[in-house]
Amino acid sequence: LPAKFDWRDKAVVAPVQNQQACGSCWAFSVVGAMQSVHAIGGSPLAQLSVQQVLDCSFQNHGCNGGSPFRALTWLKQTRVKLVPQSEYSYKAETGICHFFSQSHAGVAVKNFTAHDFSGQEEAMMGQLVEHGPLAAIVDAVSWQDYLGGIIQHHCSSQWSNHAVLVVGYNTTGDIPYWIVQNSWGTTWGNEGYVYIKIGGNVCGIADSVAAVFL
């Protein structure tokens, strides 16, 4: 494994988004993973519709919350193609699902894996390098006050409540850390990113991690 790896260096990570006052992080993490894997596969990096997942993933609850795994299960089972963000833009509220014909251009999920990597964060690094950015669930209660730097302490992993996109890692310094894209805009954290210490499952980062296959 390289000592540091960042999918942003390969221009396959879309810009940081802002979910605004809507509990849609679960949709942003899934769509973020799909966008990156699609670009890693050679397609131009294009932003896909988060609103489509928010409105149509019926096992989830739109702005009232959801699970990335349930969204991925829905995408895999229905073969729904996510259309470009420009065709179905984000509104920060749950709406009526828009349906598109199967011939309409879009990106579909073929499969996904979901694992608990707690105690195996090096294997998680391997998954990241092999399969692209990973959708992960964390405990982000203390992130309300976060300004920047590497989170090492006081980020319990008892209660998962937020979904994010792991885009890289850096083990070259004193404190090895994950590079994680959040969906609270670029004015939060490190221009929209948060750094979490690798090892010890800080914030529960390794508890529930999904890789996407298109």
């Binding site: 509990g23 609850h61 699970s67 979901a114 707690s118 195996q120 998954q127 004015t187 939060w188 750094y195």
Partner: protein, 81 residues
Amino acid sequence: SFREHFHRMYEVNGEEFNRRHLNFQNATKRHAYLNSLSTAPQSAKYGINRFSDLSQKEFRGLYLRASADRAPLFSGLKTEG
């Protein structure tokens, strides 16, 4: 300056102002505690941001709405899908 910077419209000494002010004071206490946990230069820093006048309960209700389904422990086997 917080209200000015984050474009908050609640009036001074109104009911909402007093509630937000209390949330803000609680936030500054949290920051002191969280920042005390590590002095390493790279360690996380905590402080005033646009969420500082939200109570922790409000913050969770607005932004922390993801749920996790139990995932199997990674077995190290090569899993293509």
